[in-house]
Every structure is written in structure tokens, then in C-alpha cells.
Symmetry: C2
Subunit: 368 residues, 2 copies
């Protein structure tokens, strides 16, 4: 719908050819100039092209991933050339905000409001909604809940739900790369939404610079359970639904959370976690979230830079774990297939434990 | 306290020596007869010895794990000799019941009551309470909640809480092996408790023959959220707290769950998931759980046998994933250390993506 407005016509055509050739599996026919056009379209923030590249990143097909990686290489190179004169580490032109909280805390509407307010300030905003899929059925759990009707219509917004595909932890394997893509094509803010279910909320810290924990005006057990998570991962706490009806309980929750924060070890030294009362419904105090984020960025650039490095390594090892198991489990006659089959057999016969079987295979791979 | 009552004195002494030598790291001084004594003590269901062996299984120290695996080898061999005359697959002398449900559903008191009723029937019962530990602090989340005061005092019971040590999924890496241990030393029933948090409840299916889902008398959102989990993993649903006060809401919940089950695909063909109203507090209808379990066992031996095989393989791959990453990440100069360092460097410089870095390392390990 927007893809042909204001773009270079040759890039549009080339980009279409690129994805047609990918679809037809004619990978060897993809010329270098097609790649360049795709990257041009990305840099022009063409939402159709961004979406298609995200689909390549999320694909389980290795050939797709290889194309995505080549696109990244070009994008990385150009990005560096453009920013040659100032250090990237000091600038952090794109800020990544992770937003989590229990179902029912009103995250999605809040994110839509944050996004709209940033766009009204002239920024470009990407929203990635991590949609935990059921490990059994593979189906989406959130379903349609993450549509963000208004934001999706904005030219300066890119909204994308990502299924986790059974990868535990609430954040999908390639979220970090999709964030990186959004960053390199020039979005000013990337908002990453995840549901906080148990330990999974901790994963949000592996893809964001700043974690906002959304708490509903609740009480008793519910608050106890979420308090623990809040203390461990929040850089900012937002008590949502600060409307007339809940005003009193919001204030109670704020008081309790401040008390809990006071007693626990700070996540980032020198940063006192702010606790804000907001209302997505009334659009009250929404801008406090971005203001806090920018204050954090100003004061803790070193922490953020270090964290981004750790996040990249975290991503590498998540991929390694995934690839290693897939490859070793496949019966495609790789060099360890025999030793694995042998140990699986002994395991099923209950001659050895799973640990012993795994140790035997390991000593082969590492030639101990 | 019980360890010297009615046991062979030589085995008691030898067993103590075994664990003393392990503690002193004098592994080469551990003679074969010490191993045999430890296994004798296990087979006599000495709770102190069982506990110590479980500690070896749970240990992160490789030397400890090696001793545990040797103990298993002896145990497996003896078990087979004892059961030479009848096929193990057809007998399933030990039944494994997984019990899950949201915090507050009253799982622990229910399990204690189930355990006591089985013991009163002359059975020997092991209870493994999976205690999800915080991924950040490593601390226990359940804390003291899983003590099972009465059951712990019974000579025929073995109660053991196991921390998950940050392994996502609610079931720890070695739960399956601890279950196997309990089985091979002759417990009639192993009850495995886990908290149902999000997707983690699915993991309970990797260690049990029969999954009991405990539902409190709740309503609205809460029930909606748990219903999804119930439909996917339950072999039996138990609505707890069927006491005068909640009687009506229990019946409503039962009705809703039956409705949901009616609409969803059965987990096991030919098995209609029973929904029982029970009360741990009043000790009402507790025995229905074991009765249903035995009915399941009679009718679906083939399914259970097949599932146990899959569980062993699941355990193998869980260990493989864990070991591979630990080993590859370690800087102990293994054969892939150079290629990893090189790719980590390019990754941090943002020349390549995490996926590309992982692919490069993979092609070295598999010599593609």
C-alpha cells in the first residue's frame, strides 16, 4: 500500500525480483544489484520490504537465513560508512525499550499510546510483539491481541508480531536480529513487547536497553508474584490503569513496589528505578516512560553498550544450542550419527543414564 | 535417623566410606565393593543413601556425576537380573504421576494426602518437588512450601525438593534420572510436583506416566488461562478445595472444564480425561486419583512404554544441549576455541549476525 510511494522505481522492481527469486528457490540468479536494491528499500523504511526480510530472518529454511545474513552484511557495512565520523557506541541512535507484564496489565494499549506519542514528536517507531506460541500446538497464544490498530496505520511505524515457535523464555531466537534490523534501517525507537510468564520475563533483558515493567492495580498474591519479577528486571515500573475507579489501589501498589525496590539490590548501580502512575485509557503520563528512558540513556551509556555486546553473544549461543541439537538429532548421516545411534540404543535398553549417553557422545565430538 | 535401623552393618559402614572418599575427592580409592554397598543401601531404601545419591546426580561436578552413573550401571544390571523372568515393559512396577497446577491450587497438601493414602495401603512412595529457582538469583522461589511435614516422617516415604537451577521449563535437567533411581530402588509410586507457570507445565510430561492437573475453584481470566494448559497436558483433572464454602464454584469449574475437554482433541486416544472434585482439607475423594491412574495404566500400557522411551531420549538431548554449550563456551582451549573466538570478535564488531557466527562455527564442528 505504501511501498511504491516515494521510492526509487528501480529499487522497487529489483526488490520484487529478489523476493520472487527466493520464492522460486533460484538463489544463484540473485545478482548483487538485487541485494543492493533490497537494502535501499530497507533504508527507505519500506514496510513491505522490512516485513519480508523479517520473514527471511524468522524462516526455518537455511537458504532463507543465508540471504538474510547477506542483507545484514551489506546493511552493517553501509551503516558503518555513514557513521564513520562519530563513534557508534557513544551515540546509540536507536533506543530499545522492552515492555513486559502479566496478561491483563494493559501492555498492548499502553505500547500503542507510547508509539503514537513518539510519532507525534517526529520519531520513527518499530514495535515487535513477541507472541508466545504453544509448545504443543505451535499455535499463537495471544492471537489477535497485538494488532495495535492505530499505530499500524502510521507511515512512520512498523508493527510486527513474532511467534516464539516453542522456544521457551518468551523471547524468540531471532528477536535480537530483528531489533538490529530495525536499528540499522533507522528507527529511533524499538519497542519490544513480551508477556511476563514466570521466568520468561528475564529474557526481555537480552534484547532491550531498558526494561519497563507494567503492573496492573492488583493486590495480594498476584502482586506478590509480580513483585519478585519487578525487582529483578525492571529499569522502570509503570502502574497502568490509573483511572478514577482504580486510583486508590494504584497508589497502594506504587507504595508497595517502592518499598520492595528500597529493600532489593539495584539492577544498575546508581539508577533508582522510577515508579510511574499512568493511564493508557486517559493518555495520562504516557510521556514519562520515554523521558525516563532518555534519562537512563544519558546516565548509563557504558552499561548499555556493554549490555548490547553481551546480548549479541547471548544470541550466538542461543543459535548454537538450537543448531547443534537440530543437526545432531537429524539422521542425515553426519559424522557423529553412528556414535549417537549406539548410545541411544543403550539408553533405551536402560543400560546407561541419559547423562552417561550424552557424556559418551561429547567425548567423541571433542576428541577427549 | 533411620539409616542404621535394620540395615546390614557392613553396607552402612562401606556406604559412609564411599561418600567420605567422594567428599575428599579420593575417587581412585573407591573400591568396587563400596559401590556394591551403596547399591545395597539403595535397594534397602535407606533414605540417607538415596538422598546422597540424588545429590550426586544433581551435582554440577563431573566427577560426582561419573560416580552416580556407575551406581546406576550396577543398579540397572541388578534390576534386570531380578526381573529376568518377566518383561519389564509389561509390568511397570513403579507408576509415575506428575502433578501440576498454578500456585495456590493446593498441590502440596493434596500430594501429601495422596502420599499418605498410598502408604496406608502398604505402598512405598517417593515425592519429588520441583522447586523453580530464579534464573537471576539462583534462589528458590517456592521456599519452604514443599515440606510435606507428615509424609516426610514416614519410613516408607522419600520426599525431596529439587531446584531447577535456572533450567527453564519447570522440570530440572536430572528429574528423569531421579525418577529412574526411585523406580529402581523399588518405590511403588513416584509423585512429581511442579508449579504450572506458562509453558513449563508441558515439561512435566517428559518425566511422568500420567499427568494430574490441579485446578482451584477460580473464575474468569484465571480459569481461561489454566484451561488451555489443562486441555493440552492433563490425563486427569482434579478440582481441589471442594469444601462447603467453594462447593458451588467447584461444580461450575468442573462443568466448564468438561465442556473444554469435550471440544478439544484427546491427548491419548481412547482415554476420556476424568474430572474429579476433591478436597485435601476434608480428605474427600483423594483415592480417585490413584484409581484413575491405575485404570490408565491398565488400558494404555503401550502408550506409557513408548512415552518412557521418548522421555529417555528427551533427557539425552537436554543433557547434550547443556553440555555442548558449557563446553563450547568454556575457554579451556578445546579444539573449537579459536574459530569461536574469531566469530565472537566479528559479531561484536557487528560485521555478521549471531546466526551467521553460529553457522560458521557449526560448519567447523561438522566439517561441512
Amino acid at each position: 500500500m505504501f511501498s511504491t510511494l516515494g521510492f526509487n522505481q528501480e529499487d522497487v522492481t529489483n526488490s520484487h525480483s529478489f523476493f520472487r527469486l527466493v520464492r522460486q528457490k533460484k538463489y544463484h540468479e540473485i545478482s548483487d544489484s538485487l541485494y543492493q536494491s533490497v537494502v535501499n528499500q530497507l533504508e527507505s523504511k519500506d514496510r513491505v520490504t522490512i516485513s519480508r526480510v523479517v520473514t527471511l530472518i524468522e524462516s526455518l529454511n537455511l537458504e532463507h537465513r543465508r540471504r538474510a545474513d547477506k542483507i545484514f552484511e551489506i546493511l552493517f557495512k553501509r551503516y558503518k560508512e555513514k557513521n564513520l565520523n562519530h563513534s557508534l557506541d557513544q551515540d546509540l541512535p536507536t533506543f530499545r525499550i522492552g515492555i513486559c507484564g502479566a496478561p491483563g496489565s494493559g501492555k498492548s494499549s499502553l505500547i500503542e499510546k507510547i508509539g503514537m506519542s513518539l510519532i507525534n514528536e517526529g520519531m520513527k517507531v518499530a514495535v515487535l510483539a513477541i507472541d508466545p506460541s504453544s509448545a504443543k500446538t505451535g499455535g499463537s497464544i495471544l492471537g489477535d491481541k497485538t494488532r495495535m490498530e492505530y499505530l499500524s496505520r502510521e507511515v512512520n511505524a512498523f508493527v510486527r508480531p513474532s511467534p516464539t515457535k516453542g522456544y521457551l523464555g518468551g523471547v524468540s531466537l531471532n528477536t535480537n536480529e530483528i531489533v538490529t534490523l530495525c536499528e540499522h534501517v533507522g528507527f529511533d525507537a524499538v519497542l519490544i513487547e513480551t508477556v511476563g510468564v514466570g521466568q520468561s520475563e528475564i529474557e526481555i533483558d537480552t534484547v532491550s536497553d531498558f526494561v519497563v515493567y507494567v503492573v496492573p492495580p492488583a493486590s495480594g498474591d498476584e502482586l506478590q508474584a509480580s513483585k519478585k519479577g519487578v525487582m529483578e528486571i525492571a529499569d522502570c515500573v509503570v502502574i497502568n490503569k490509573f483511572d478514577s475507579e482504580y486510583e486508590k489501589s494504584c497508589r497502594v501498589v506504587k507504595h508497595q513496589i517502592l518499598g520492595g525496590l528500597h529493600l532489593s539490590r539495584p539492577k544498575v548501580d546508581g539508577w533508582r528505578v522510577p515508579v510511574e502512575l499512568v493511564s493508557a485509557h486517559r493518555e495520562y503520563n504516557i510521556d514519562s516512560i520515554w523521558r525516563n528512558a532518555m534519562r537512563f540513556k544519558e546516565n548509563h551509556k557504558d552499561i548499555i553498550t556493554q549490555k548490547r555486546g553481551e546480548q549479541l553473544l547471548h544470541g550466538l549461543w542461543a543459535y548454537m544450542g538450537d543448531m547443534l541439537l537440530k543437526r545432531l538429532k537429524s539422521e542425515s548421516g553426519h559424522i557423529y550419527a553412528d556414535i549417537i545411534a549406539q548410545n541411544e540404543k543403550r539408553l533405551i535398553k536402560q543400560e546407561i543414564t541419559p547423562n552417561a549417553a550424552a557424556s559418551n557422545i561429547m567425548s567423541h565430538i571433542f576428541k577427549d
